[in-house]
Symmetry: C2
Subunit: 169 residues, 2 copies
């Protein structure tokens, strides 16, 4: 069962999963279609006076399309039990696969957003986009540019205001 | 005495101080001049495969000038004991005041950066700039723009790769 909690209660779990596996972003298009994507690059803290979660999403992804359309998303913190799902959601595109169906991933409704939360995760953040920014390639050190941006598919940085924090009880 | 530690050990302290008081950025220009500035907006996590601390700094500040010049900075986590110093460092400019002298703030050398660390703080991150980004005003919701950017002094977002984490022992 999911219950609302303070952000401090799930901070360490979030940080640990981010460095270990990545986090799962989920979103729902206006046509009702849902998707989940693994994100490896995320930051948490405070900005513009709000609690904020920033996620880096490549513009070619289906998740990017859904966030641009709805201006919201959830960030779900996986436990070790669903490591295989986290790997899978980072490899295939929601344009071609219904990841939830393929992997039998249960979802439930969010509290303050239309995006779903992923039941088997242990913590959840409901976010509304507060700001978008871009990776400016010219400002990247050459080493970083060559290592991570050889495809020139530069990330959008979505800064989400955290509306709700939930945990599994 | 300062000792190196894992980031996890000081995560909660950092997060708590950020939401309570703010954090102190410190930097040293190539002429040897040092400065400290309070920052209220910061995010911590992982990006471009590195542990990262992002700080939002207005371009008019002396700290901005020093980071642009040296591409590095430290982030220092204050305790409640130095709340008055945190307030002070957020109010006056290092261009006009030697904040360290005025408030008798002790500093010591960093391990992997030339920027100093602030002795009376309880945790410290040594950062090298990995990426700079800008707040793009057109992408801000109107409410955020009017509340925080009436002066049009839009922040630079410095994404610093965390080279070293230290704590007071």
């Amino acid at each position: 069962m999911k219950v609302q909690c303070n952000r401090e209660e799930v901070l360490e779990t979030t940080y640990s999963a981010l460095f270990d596996m990545g986090l799962l972003i989920s979103s729902r298009g206006s046509d009702g279609r849902v998707n989940a994507m693994t994100v490896g690059w995320a930051l948490i803290g405070k900005a513009w006076s709000y609690p904020v979660l920033m996620v880096a999403v490549r513009p070619t992804t289906y998740t990017h399309e859904l966030i641009e359309e709805t201006n919201e998303f959830t960030v779900n913190v996986p436990s070790d039990d669903i490591r295989e799902i986290v790997d899978y959601c980072g490899k295939v595109s929601g344009r071609n696969y219904d990841k939830f169906k393929e992997k039998n991933i249960a979802i439930e409704n969010g509290v303050n957003v239309n995006s779903p939360i992923i039941s088997d995760c242990v913590a959840h953040y409901e976010c509304k986009v507060l700001l978008k920014s871009k990776v400016i390639p010219e400002l990247l050190p050459q080493e970083t540019r060559e290592k991570h941006f050889y495809s020139k598919n530069y990330h959008t940085l979505f800064f989400g205001k955290i509306l709700t924090t939930l945990k599994e009880q």
